[in-house]
Subunit: 283 residues, 4 copies
């Protein structure tokens, strides 16, 4: 079933829900899901409504014009998405394949509503996998001297392929501010720790040193502050004194996969809103 | 802050949300929380709205008269609750004290918005505890021959005390259909297994026999079909071959407490709706 | 590092550990891991010891002869395994690919110490996947009339390929007693429920009907009593009223994968002992 | 049943287990539980053995003399404990009662093998609770000017009462180095975050600011580096954008209780060994 999805954040005011519901009703919307959240401390309102387009008599071209007066009167940030528009995704990977494989399989199994248009890697070991899933594979070895140039070419290819979302599936390069600026809130990374614990490189080694009893993974949007972007999802699993660093690395793969794939799915289903460097997830 | 809470279930129809939101807006409601659920397969709609009474200009006496026309036109089951009305609770316990203590402490800590009016037990060992928390303690030894008579007296006392909710905190007696009929969807029990596994008596022994790797607890509304009422909450924890029956019993206390206390809180906060012997939890 | 692994169960008696430790020490064993379990109620003792073969001066041919006197005096069931002997595995699958893909990827990532020799299926949709991983794929459409004959051919191929372990990765056919008898405690299945809840077919439908708040998966050894074999591992995840049957099926794939892959790894690492239709897992 | 418990850490060497097992066997020990751990990277060996004293013909006075030669030859750190010696515990609390109540109830229910000799608090609100459980309550208001003097009196009372373990049950004062030095590895604290995330004061506020999706609690031994002592246990629970700081505080109480009570139980059952600022837990 094709659906429309309206995402709104604005100052919380009386009559908001009535106005939105009335607007959709007037145009024949059959609402399938509606979630809202009020943060009473900061006085903010967040909403996600999904409705069937079957019987909805407001086409895409007209939506904005019709809705804009309401939006303006409530000072809304808003956007409308259509389930028929499958976002175009580029996955960036390095040597580790587990997150990439997981995303490719979930996509094939129908769990991720998107097109996976490109796989970009600074290694060539995932080439056969890309071929198996019939996805273009771009191999860009990166080093200190060619990094800016490689990013130029990557940005060019992302633009050419009209990429909507970049997923860093254990991609081991730090993106430049210029790159990040091109895809604000549209780059999702997985960090292999329970952030904000163990930021930076080699978090499993740091976790081992500290002797923690749980290890975790965190998926988040990428900002220019490394490991500081809005957190989307986190998961942990139990470890013990028996686990050496290599065990943490192996076990950690399962939580990395879980935290990343859920984040990607929620993004693709337009379930994520933002405020104050945090996320609201309407799952 | 005092709030009103409107709970609705009805056939799903266009315009429902608009009508409800419009109604509340007209009367000055400042909505704090709103949750809805559509079950598209059975065509049902469920909603919970909570709003501040501050500025709401429809008093209790008038609400029903004003809302009834909308309710009728959409064939709603509905009720309105007020946070100021603290439900009156009776806790039934037997020998085991852990669930009872947990509820009493959570109540004292402000987690459970209710009055705990009575503790009823077929043992007298919790008497000092009741005294410490200054709650009436009714000790009714039950046996095969006096069971009907005891239930009569209990029902009498529940009525006298205008009890809204009966919580069976590991109460080891089966209530008669007559008793259950007096408090439909107002008796919450905790069963010490992950239902529907290990119904009936001695579930930890059965779990040990079967060699399961997780044990659980289930809180549910009591119906006349033992262990078959609508499930409210379930939780599990990991066990191993090292755990004997006594370890299962000890460890299980933690999940029993967790499953029961969440169920009681959700009930008291009017977060639970029903259909098809199942619950909708707006947590 | 190559290791030897000694697995023992026997009546619990004083001096057991001293005798075993003394035996290994005399032959130069450098013990890497040792786990033991006493079940005091039934008076049983279980042990798994793993030691480095580096410096161990008792070769395979001589081990049994040297250890047998000790074993006999303590009435041990025992076996010795060598990490160098990679078990040969056949995976049986049907339409669903998620468990199969997960096992293949974990194998490739080095998580499963075995050879995956064969993939057997009553459907042909996993053929390309088998080809990608360069594993023989045997497609045997099964129906009521050819079932016995197909099992004959399967058993023949398993024997030819000297298969040590059969993994049913959501294989949707029930194996005959004759088949099961050929691989006692060497067939691992994953059932898509938290057993013993929802045995039989369509457990997600049954879980949906009952309105449970957690769904689970159970990996177990296959016996002739359907869904009644010794449980190896179980896992659950939280669901809510929002989840339709299709959501349960999708979410359940993650716990099925987890429960099955852990069971397979523990079996391959010789971490599982048995008693009373239950497992002891030395993880 | 009365038991002896032997705890050992030493460099890993061949023949260790054989020597220990042989020693216990010779003196008639019936081993109930034995756990060992090798850390192959640092070449360390850890062991906990528990045996029935029934039939064991080596009395307390003689144990050390008999075992010392073995201990010396393997350079062991070791100690022997007896289940009959119930450790004497002092619980320090401040305003929050939830951890204190939980420990008191678990003690009463038989989960904690100890005497709770004292409750020390810088507030007097837990006085009735202490009275209910018949435990001495020492109320010491602390401020900047009297802190050293109060610690003097507390240390005096701990000594007088021969306290073996100090449990900080959400005690909100930082102990001085002098105090900590008196009870090395015998002061257990619970920090209300998943350490090393959110060290310091107000971790729930910090977690809320950062927008994490899980909150946690960590129990650890107290050292002079605040929040840096060896971690004993950690637990987490899921939160969402709906949770305000007050919700985090309320929900967090459940994980604080769980992490602290498990740590205390493991300590009392002599299940914890140390190395490199980390713990080995033989649970």
């Amino acid at each position: 079933m094709e659906t429309g999805i309206l995402l709104i954040d604005c100052p919380d005011r009386r009559g908001l829900v009535a106005s939105i519901a009335q607007f959709l009703y007037q145009h024949g919307a059959n609402i399938l899901h509606a979630d809202q959240h009020q943060d009473n401390e900061v006085g903010m309102f967040f909403m996600r409504i999904e409705w069937s387009l079957d019987g909805f008599h407001l086409d895409r071209a007209s939506f904005s014009g019709e809705f804009e007066p309401i939006a303006r009167s409530f000072q809304m940030n808003w956007r409308v998405e259509y389930s028929a528009d499958r976002p175009r995704v580029a996955i960036f990977a390095s040597l580790y394949q587990h997150c990439l494989i997981d995303l490719l399989h979930r996509h094939q199994a129908g769990e991720l509503p998107c097109e996976i248009s490109l796989i970009v890697s600074n290694h060539n070991n995932c080439q056969p996998l890309a071929q198996f899933y019939k996805i273009s594979y771009l191999y860009f070895p990166v080093n200190a001297s060619n990094k800016a140039e490689v990013e130029d070419r990557e940005l060019g290819l992302l633009a050419e392929n009209r990429i909507d979302l970049v997923v860093l599936a254990r991609y081991m390069q730090v993106l430049s501010p210029r790159f990040v600026a091109e895809y604000p809130r549209r780059i999702i990374n997985v960090h292999h720790s329970f952030l904000p614990a163990f930021t930076g490189a080699r978090p499993y080694h740091a976790a081992f040193e500290r002797g923690v009893k749980l290890i975790g993974a965190t998926s988040h949007y990428v900002t220019n502050d490394l490991d500081e972007g809005p957190i989307i999802e986190q998961d942990v699993l139990r470890v013990s004194h028996r686990d050496q660093v290599t065990d943490l690395i192996q076990k950690g793969r399962d939580v990395e996969r879980a935290a990343l794939s859920r984040a990607v799915r929620w993004h693709l289903e337009h379930r994520i809103l933002f405020y104050a460097n945090k996320t609201v997830i309407f799952d």
